[in-house]
């Protein structure tokens, strides 16, 4: 057993869901108990997907265990095929169903559903989300591209893009950016998979000259298979950062047999000049701690050190599968790689490294917030705010621009905060003056009360003027959430003043609440 408070990755069947949800016409029947449907909300809430993910759960309950959960599974498959009419069915088990004796692959074979069925074996007690996604994608590619003949006379500039998926960090915009860049460089992108692909698209994978693996965590095993099966070469340089994008374009152009002239698209690179501008001088040797999935963490460390002039003081990943790559990268910066999926280890490593900027996932954002260190998010897992409405790729030249802004922005704020600290006795910058650039009124230091659990609560400003509150009413007011407490106080005092009530009691508080409720 392993004690876990927060996990960086979900179970492998969530990875399989991500592949099913990425594609069109693929439905996933998951043998799972009631409650496992929680995973739907990752798609509908975090990614704000306007449709339910294409997943049917058997949702067996305790009473089904005595009977036949196998029958529940088979009827779920039949119903799903009839209702959704998919082109292919993925079938598999979640962690609980893995413990039962039912065999989804065997059971699915006995179904007469007239569509291809791809069974998945995802060992829930050994593997995790990204592995599950990679394995599912590989199984699909094998099933639908596997039996194909490679056509003669393939255009050398044709390629596929492998790896982008649903719930992937900025995958949507990365695909747009890279496709645009490739088109400008005379490369013909045939199939992007799994994001937006159909099973017919997968069958067309061998029709291109080579593959581009944008996200090795998910696309690598499929790319290796296509290389072995069809001799398709692949590029797996990840074009995050100016340098990496240049290398990537050079490699792609070489594979496509294009001239070795300068790649096109660099006109949009503003990040290089911004980093050179004198304004950026104060970034020099800022200590930065990098943690995330292997691809984003390695890319971020290289950008930090070579393109922004930071000092990398820590580099790590939660993906044990890519530990070797991260260790190699860490050597470049003279740090020891942190390979751990325990957020407490990461927190300790951050404390030990004393960074001035943390680049990480949602977890590191919270750790950094607690430690009051500036932070930017570079990798999944992420919250809803990192599935933004605006165009914000990480890859390519525009991606580098986005990265420059999003990493430097918290530091700018950090610098301003520092200046405010230095001048805190100044008449305009003292503790009680509100900082005009902050979104919310800055909490005055003396009113911040540390409470259990490390939450910071801000008590509303002290009673104003001569309006008297009974101690009971004052206590009751404290139970109002701090962000509306000020309003509750003002409304109640206004109400009391109008009605000539004095002192304000608990009754008055709620009378006013009822009066103003609208």
């Amino acid at each position: 057993m392993k004690l876990t408070m927060w996990t960086y990755e979900g179970p492998p069947h969530v990875g399989a869901m991500r592949i099913a949800a990425s594609m069109k016409g693929v439905h996933y029947v998951l043998h799972a108990p009631q409650g496992d449907t929680y995973a739907d909300l990752l798609f509908t809430m975090i990614e704000r997907r306007p449709a339910r993910p294409p997943v049917t759960y058997t949702t067996f309950q305790a009473r089904d265990l005595a009977g036949s959960t196998a029958d529940v599974f088979k009827s779920a498959c039949r119903d799903a095929v009839e209702r959704f009419k998919p082109d292919a069915l993925l079938v598999g088990a979640s962690c609980t169903a893995e413990l039962l004796q039912d065999d989804p692959a065997g059971l699915a074979r006995t179904l007469d559903v007239r569509i291809p069925i791809v069974p998945l074996e995802l060992p829930s007690y050994q593997k995790k989300e990204n592995w599950g996604a990679a394995e599912t994608f590989y199984r699909l590619v094998r099933s639908f591209a596997g039996g194909r003949e490679r056509p003669a006379g393939i255009a050398p500039n044709s390629c596929n893009i492998l790896g982008p998926s649903s719930l992937g960090f900025r995958n949507r915009d990365d695909v747009t950016e890279i496709c645009r860049l490739l088109a400008a460089n005379g490369i013909d992108v045939r199939v992007v998979a799994p994001l937006g692909a159909t099973v017919d698209d997968l069958a067309r994978l061998p029709d291109a000259a080579f593959n581009i693996v944008l996200y090795p965590e998910i696309g690598d095993s499929a790319a290796r298979y296509l290389k072995k099966q069809f001799g398709m070469p692949f590029v797996s340089t990840v074009p995050i950062g100016i340098g990496a994008t240049r290398t990537f374009l050079a490699e792609v152009r070489a594979l496509a047999g294009l001239l070795k002239e300068d790649p096109l698209g660099e006109a949009e690179d503003r990040a290089t000049w911004y980093a050179r501008s004198v304004d950026s001088n104060y970034l020099t040797n800022k200590r930065v701690f990098v943690f995330g999935d292997a691809t984003h963490a390695i890319a971020a460390a290289r950008i930090a050190a070579r393109e922004l002039g930071f000092k990398v003081c820590g580099l790590g990943t939660y993906m044990r599968e890519f530990a070797r790559e991260v260790r190699e990268a860490a050597e470049e910066f003279g740090v020891e790689a942190l390979i751990s999926d325990d957020h407490l280890d990461v927190e300790q490593a951050i404390i030990d490294a004393r960074p001035e900027l943390v680049l990480g996932t949602q977890m590191e954002r919270h750790i950094a917030k607690r430690l009051r260190v500036p932070c930017a998010v570079i990798s999944a897992p992420v919250h809803v705010q990192d599935f933004p409405a605006r165009y914000s790729p990480q890859m390519g030249f525009e991606g580098a621009n986005v990265i420059f802004d999003s990493w430097v922005h918290p530091l700018m704020m950090g610098l301003e905060e520092h200046l405010l600290q230095m001048f805190r006795d100044d008449f305009e910058f003292n503790d009680r003056a509100e900082a005009s650039h902050l979104h919310a009124p800055a909490p005055a230091a003396s009113d911040v009360v540390e409470v259990a659990d490390g939450d910071t609560l801000v008590i509303a400003e002290a009673a104003s003027g001569d309006t008297a509150w009974t101690p009971d009413a004052e206590r009751e007011l404290r139970k109002v959430p701090f962000f509306v407490r000020g309003k509750a106080r003002r409304n109640t005092e206004l109400f009391a003043a109008r009605k000539g009530i004095r002192p304000i009691t608990v009754e008055t508080l709620y009378d006013a609440k009822a009066h103003f409720a609208r």
């Binding site: 996990t7 909300l41 509908t44 997907r49 339910r52 413990l99 609440k513 409720a517």
Partner: protein, 432 residues
């Protein structure tokens, strides 16, 4: 597979199929905020950990008071003794968090399927630590429990624990069972005090302190409708249940308090005096939102078992028309009063076949759908206005002073729709 079942006020649709609901583990999210010195340790898989984390959303604390002991391959292969493994992880946890006074082991689907004996583990650990902390256990597995039923099992475990180790010096005359927000608890405590009641105990309490003695002289009332096992455990100690509506809205809260008052022989005059002002406030606050909801057709998907009470409130105090009331489980005896107050013709459904229910919902073209987060955005994308049901479990909605807030929860999506579309909310039509 839908079979009508005879039941007042109308036939119940019994459903079997895919259930789009949370499991009982989710209840940890509010229980750990309520009981401030308890730690909830799930014995389960990575899925369990991921579920709680996903459902808890932004509630990432520096040190959450819940965690998962994730079972690994070697645990399942019998290469290690799982009881030894659990003891080791618990020891590590308590070393880290010496402030924990109550450790709650929570069973999950995987731990139950392999028949890991959590009760035995809890007893052993309780003996080992000599009640510092005390160790309890309950099941929050999806195969056994739906969403709020996790709390039911937890409270039943607290009651059983009192039967075994309970104090005898203090007696509870009235137990108010069901987790409610602290501010609501304080309001109820004040009202009950004004009614002249003494020795009132709220279950769960805000700390891990053991319950006072419960015996045949104790009466209890449910503040939440999902407490079948808790009620059975209290009755097992001889306590008598006070039957009432649930305290949602002015009417529900009054009926709830009146049931208590009558049970303890409080004079009608005193009851009227105590409740008059808050009743007026609740009616006034609710009235602000009635124009938005009046006549709107509402469809409720199953989630928390609060649905019958919410439907009763929507219909009687906000004049909404109710199309279907879904509930994951109907404890008929406890919600009989609620169901009896629904107008004839309302469909009641117990359990779920989510695809079939979505078909029914689309066909009914409701003005507002109360549903879970996995369904809400897809419905919105179809032009159907929704209200996330999970908020009813986290927001203070019980009692007089929250009646307006409860109405606002329903009114907000309708108001928003009208604001954004620049039209009156009544003009909305379902996209076909």
């Amino acid at each position: 597979m839908n079979q009508p079942l005879a039941c007042a006020p109308s036939a119940t649709i019994r459903q079997r199929g895919q259930h789009e609901v949370f499991c009982g583990l989710t209840s940890i999210i509010w229980l750990h905020r309520k009981v401030q010195d308890a730690f909830f340790l799930v014995v389960g898989s990575r899925t369990c950990a991921h579920l709680i984390q996903s459902a808890a959303g932004v509630m990432i604390f520096s040190e959450p008071r819940f965690a998962t002991a994730i079972m690994e391959e070697r645990d399942l292969a019998g290469m290690v003794d799982m009881h030894d493994e659990l003891d080791r992880e618990v020891a590590r946890l308590l070393e880290r968090r010496p402030d924990i006074r109550m450790l709650v082991l929570v069973g999950s689907c995987p731990s139950e399927v392999i028949k890991f004996d959590l009760a035995r583990a809890a007893e052993r650990l309780d003996r080992r630590y000599g009640s510092k902390p005390r160790v309890l256990c309950y099941s929050g597995s999806g195969i056994e429990t739906t969403f709020t039923q996790g709390e039911d099992n937890f409270l039943a475990a607290l009651v059983r624990d009192q039967a075994r180790h309970g104090s005898v010096d203090r007696l509870a005359k009235l137990v108010v069972a069901g987790s409610i927000a602290d501010v609501v608890e304080d309001q109820f405590a004040r009202l009950l005090d004004e009614l002249g009641l003494e020795d009132v105990v709220f279950l769960p309490g805000r700390s891990s302190e053991r319950l006072p003695k419960i015996d045949a002289t104790t009466r209890f009332i449910l503040a939440q409708p999902y407490l079948g096992a808790t009620a059975a455990a209290l009755e097992g100690l001889g306590a008598a249940r006070i039957n009432a509506l649930f305290p949602l809205g002015e009417e529900g809260t009054t009926a709830w308090l009146k049931a208590i008052a009558d049970s303890f022989g409080v004079s009608p005059a005193r009851f009227a005096t105590v409740t008059e002002a808050p009743r007026r406030r609740a009616r006034e606050a609710t009235a602000h939102y009635r124009p938005v909801i009046d006549g709107k057709r509402v469809f409720l998907f199953p989630d928390s078992q609060l649905e019958p009470s919410l439907a009763r409130y929507l219909n009687r105090e906000l004049d909404a028309e109710i199309i279907e009331v879904g509930s994951p489980y109907l404890h008929r005896e406890h919600v009989a009063g609620e169901l009896a107050m629904l107008p004839p013709g309302v469909s009641i459904s117990e359990g779920q076949d989510v695809e079939v229910q979505i078909d029914r919902c689309r066909a009914a073209r409701p003005d507002l759908v109360v549903c879970g987060m996995g369904l809400a955005n897809p419905f919105e994308a179809e032009g159907i206005v929704t209200k996330w049901s999970i908020e009813f479990a986290f927001t203070p909605i019980q009692g007089y002073e929250q009646a307006g807030d409860l109405a606002e929860l329903f009114a907000r999506p309708l108001t928003r729709k009208a604001m954004i579309a620049g039209e009156r909310s009544g003009n909305r039509r379902v996209a076909s």
